[in-house]
């Protein structure tokens, strides 16, 4: 198969890669760039473990062709913290015991990040709706929802 050169912004850095059309973003991130934060959980968009941000919105790396992200901006969980300074969500996940086995955590945090970017003060219901594509088998979600809510701003007048 023919290789194409794609250029993307990955965690803030320009990156040029040669990819074949059948290569999936998830596999390029993991197998070629060794960014293993995004996980394979189901391969068909049912679990959210591979969630990354593409142009600022959550997307599933397991269903995204690498050729198709030419010119786009990709942020993985590795790109979330600024240096040693964790993202508030990462802090919150630690403080609320929202992490058990941790395998869903990267995808969960990326989804939560985009929720708060879209809607800085979501209700508990809105949080649950928003993360319903991210499966966690350990926690029962409660601690995760609390962690996310703890990062939400007070609603005006609330």
């Amino acid at each position: 198969m023919t290789e194409t050169s794609i250029t993307l912004t990955l965690n803030g850095k320009k990156k040029t890669l040669r990819v074949r059309p059948n290569e999936l973003l998830l596999n390029v991130l993991r197998d070629r760039l060794f960014l293993t934060g995004a996980k394979y959980g189901c391969g068909i968009g049912e679990c959210g473990a591979c969630t990354v941000l593409i142009d600022g919105r959550p997307a599933l790396a397991c269903l995204t062709l690498a050729v198709a992200i030419d010119g786009k901006e990709v942020v993985t969980v590795e790109g979330l913290a600024r240096g040693d300074e964790l993202d508030p969500l990462q802090e919150a996940f630690l403080d609320h015991g929202a992490v058990q086995c941790g395998f869903c955590t990267p995808g969960m945090i990326m989804t939560a990040r985009s929720l708060l970017d879209e809607n800085p003060s979501p209700s508990e219901e809105e949080v649950r709706e928003y993360i319903r594509g991210n499966i966690c088998r350990c926690t029962g979600y409660t601690s995760i929802v609390s962690a996310i809510l703890s990062c939400a701003q007070e609603k005006e007048g609330a």
Binding site: N22, N27, R30, D31, F34, L35, T36, G37, A38, K39, Y40, G41, C42, G43, I44, E46, C47, A49, T76, V77, E78, L80, A81, L86, Q90, F93, L94, D95, H96, G97, V99, Q100, C101, G102, F103, C104, T105, P106, I109, E124, V127, R128, E129, I131, R132, G133, N134, I135, C136, R137, C138, T139, G140, Y141, T142, S143, I144, V145, S146, L149
Partner: protein, 783 residues
């Protein structure tokens, strides 16, 4: 509350592996990449039952692939799970059986430079099968005349035994005289119950990476709950001395029992690596994983006999387990089911008859509870039925009969017993009743409308490990190494795996507590089978009680050494010294008792020991717990049933846990709530259905049609109330017991009891899907 006497244990702290996990930097087996690594894929059987007549991998090899077929792996017969003593262990499998016994069973494997090349090579492999009659239904399977015969013989310990009617093993256990018991009974209730095949759905699919070492040995990273048992099995299968088999302890993306045995892919990966002389990585796809393991499905027949006053006098349970294609420790399972049954209530006289049967389906293995949630569903359902017959409040009936302090408890079947020393059953039943508002509970007959609510209770327990005063049939001990570094910080080296529940945190906290060092001065070292003593497995809810129990045992020895070395410096008698935590200077300090100002820091002691060449303050030891204390739980659940659609929603829940001292309170809480979520799945949602013609999973192994609960299925934060019993386990580390499996055991039972209280319909088959609810409601209406 007793936990107040502790400075570290019982307090919330960020888990040590937390930063790595939230930044995506934690490395799981599936994240291991080695130079020159090959990637492997497995060819799996399309047939439920067939002989492999011939395989042709020549074309794949021409493409540069390395192949492993049933004809070139060692044919050592083993049981992938090590738990019982050898003479009680059945063995029926090899790495790549020459006869496949379920759809999706591994036939052969192919490795190449990339997973893609491996897949392409795999598509060129030709396999010739001779299809055999298959048994997909457990009842059919027991009639050999119908043609299916999975095994002619298997091994029990050293001896080769016949398999008849596909019955893998049976166990019959009696206490007292059950006939006589039923004769004394004023009232009896009986019923059948059925718990489905449920898939673990741990987030990380099975993964293994094997690096062949230049000295002929192997290094293995794999999804497992027990690095030492994997090591021993690999050594046995590939005839390697154990010092050349190194299994690394590595983060595990959930397991829930699915990695309690050596994963089926692990020896395949090793076989390929040894053949290729290159590192090989093998990660299963989700669909492969769903064809690899499943929870034990059990059909029960259960009968209780009781006096009018509610006192139980007899119980008789028959359990039929459909274990699928391999016997992954079904014998101890039957013993455990008997134990889970016998230890919930004082039946006086009981009889248990258990039978495990082979079918041509995915092999069943432990899943959080090892038969306990299934058993609990039957027992707690029948207790409610009995309560109704007797007109006694379900809580009263339970209080009247529960097994508690001073009673004998079966921790892992009839041979692992100890006397209960701590019990929060009464406290939890009364506190839980208040939390959920039990007094609001009314009989279903008094409810009307399209949407009805109901409250249910169920109590459960699990063992904390499988220790005991007598060795019994089950292996259980753990090991630990603790050393004090020259600056007063501490290295903890443990073989115990942590599935994410917080076992390692507990271990670190216990060290900090005993040695009086600040928690952040305790490091949990990476470890592997070469650097640690034996630990059987992170199963049986033994991580904290047994694994950390060993850590506690060793910490005490280190404490003594600290005092002895300090005594030399302070020129005192060790007995006259005190060890204390000094948060300002962030060190443990030692001083003559009563003279806190004359302290020296642990760092100074360790440094002096180095300079004066006294040696390192360290200890290594193994330790077996002499008990198997039950960790009790009580689930109160309120459900809402939409009668028009049959949909059931959990609206409120009170989860009570008795884990002795909760060393990591927020993690215990996390376990209880996680247990509720999987209990919901077990009770209402999940089942791996099979196509009765093809023997394939109806969902094809894809999560599209095997639905897991999402955040939206769980009750709101404020509607989940969690409470800990105020107990202290004298035999446990800092008074702690386990919690892990218990957290699930009575969840489903409570939900089903709540559905009954809402609708007046008793569901005896899980999962209780809207389809089943609506059907039942309609029949109810019709009748």
């Amino acid at each position: 509350m007793e936990t107040r006497q502790f400075e570290v244990a019982g307090r919330r702290a960020r888990r040590k592996d937390g930063i790595a996990k939230v930044t995506g930097r934690e490395i799981y087996s599936s994240d291991v990449y080695l130079p020159g690594m090959m990637h492997a894929v497995v060819l799996r059987s399309p047939h439920p039952h067939a002989e492999i007549v011939d395989v042709d991998v020549s074309e794949a090899e021409r493409m540069g692939a390395v192949c492993l077929t049933p004809f070139d792996v060692p044919d050592t017969v083993y049981n992938e799970r090590t738990v019982s003593i050898p003479e009680k262990t059945y063995r029926d499998r090899t790495v790549l059986p020459k006869k496949v016994r379920h759809v999706g069973e591994a036939v052969l494997a192919v490795a190449h430079d990339t997973e893609e090349l491996a897949m392409l090579a795999l598509s060129k492999v030709k396999v010739q099968y001779k299809e055999l009659p298959s048994a997909l239904d457990v009842k059919d399977a027991m009639v050999e005349a119908r043609g299916a015969r999975l095994y002619d013989t298997v091994f029990l310990g050293g001896e080769c035994i016949q398999v008849k009617n596909n019955i893998a093993c049976e166990r019959s256990i009696a206490v007292g005289d059950v006939e006589d018991g039923f004769r004394q009974a004023d009232i009896t209730v009986e019923s059948e119950f059925e718990a489905q095949r449920m898939y673990h759905a741990q987030m990380e699919t099975k993964a293994a990476v094997c690096a062949p070492e230049p000295d002929g040995g192997i290094t293995v990273w794999t999804t497992t709950q027990t690095i030492h048992n994997v090591r021993q099995l690999l050594g046995q299968i590939f005839s390697l001395p154990l010092h050349k088999v190194n299994v690394k302890r590595i983060a595990l993306g959930g397991a829930f029992g699915s990695s309690i045995q050596m994963n089926s892919i692990t020896p395949i990966c090793v076989g390929l690596a040894l053949r290729a002389k290159r590192p090989v990585k093998l990660v299963t796809s989700r669909e492969e994983d769903m064809y690899d393991h499943v929870k034990y499905p059990v059909r029960f027949w259960l009968k209780f006999g009781a006096k009018k006053d509610g006192r139980l006098v007899a119980a008789h349970m028959k359990a039929l387990v459909d274990i699928g294609a391999h016997n992954i420790q079904a014998y101890p399972l039957l013993g455990c089911i008997a134990g889970w049954f016998a230890s919930l209530y004082k039946f006086q006289n009981l009889l248990f008859e258990g039978r495990a049967v082979y079918t041509n389906k995915v092999p069943a293995c432990a899943m959080q509870g090892y038969g306990n949630p299934q058993t609990n569903f039957a027992v707690e359902s029948l207790m409610d039925m009995l309560a109704e017959e007797l007109g006694i409040d379900p809580i009263q009936l339970r209080l009247m009969n529960y097994v508690g302090v001073g009673d004998e408890f079966w921790g892992q079947g009839p041979t692992v017993r100890s006397i209960i020393k701590s019990c929060g059953v009464e406290e939890m039943l009364s506190r839980g009743a208040a939390m959920i508002g039990w007094d609001r509970r009314v009989h279903p007959s008094q409810k009307s409308g399209d949407v009805v609510r109901g409250i249910g209770v169920a109590r459960g327990f699990h063992t904390s490990g499988t220790g005991g005063p007598k060795p019994g049939e089950v292996i259980d001990y753990s090991s630990a190494t603790i050393k004090v570094n020259e600056d007063g910080s501490v290295d903890l080296i443990t073989p115990v795996m942590d599935q994410g529940g917080g076992t390692w945190e507990a271990a670190a906290k216990v060290v900090a507590e005993v040695l009086k060092v600040p928690l952040d001065m305790v490091g949990i070292s990476p470890s592997d089978t070469r650097t640690t003593g034996y630990d059987v497995c992170t199963h049986a809810t033994r991580g904290v009680y047994c694994g950390v129990g060993a850590v506690h045992h060793v910490a005490e020895q280190v404490r003594q050494k600290i005092l002895e070395f300090a005594a030399r410096i302070l020129e005192q008698n060790p007995r006259d010294l005190s060890l204390a935590r000094n948060e300002e200077i962030g060190q443990a300090v030692i001083y003559p008792t009563g003279l806190p100002d004359r302290y020296i820091t642990l760092g100074e002691v360790a440094k002096t020991a180095q300079i004066k060449s006294w040696g390192t303050i360290a200890a290594t030891d193994s330790y077996r717990q002499k008990n198997c204390p039950p960790c009790f739980v009580t689930h109160f659940v309120e459900v809402e049933v939409e009668k028009r659609t049959g949909r059931v929603r959990i609206v409120r829940a009170a989860l009570l846990g008795d884990c002795g001292t909760p060393i990591n309170p927020d993690m215990v809480k996390g376990q209880l709530i996680g247990g509720l979520c999987r209990g919901l799945a077990f009770a209402l949602l999940e089942e791996t259905a099979y196509d009765s013609n093809t023997g394939r999973l109806v969902c094809g192994g894809y999560l599209t049609d095997y639905k897991l609960p999402t955040a939206c299925e769980m009750p709101a934060i404020d509607d989940i109330m969690v409470g800990f019993a105020n107990t202290y386990e004298p035999s446990g580390p800092l008074g702690a017991k386990g919690i892990g499996e218990a957290a699930l055991n009575s969840a489903a039972s409570a939900i089903v009891n709540a559905i009954y209280n809402a609708t007046g319909i008793r569901f005896k088959k899980l999962p209780v899907t809207p389809e089943r609810v609506l059907e039942a409601l309609r029949e109810g209406v019709a009748r």
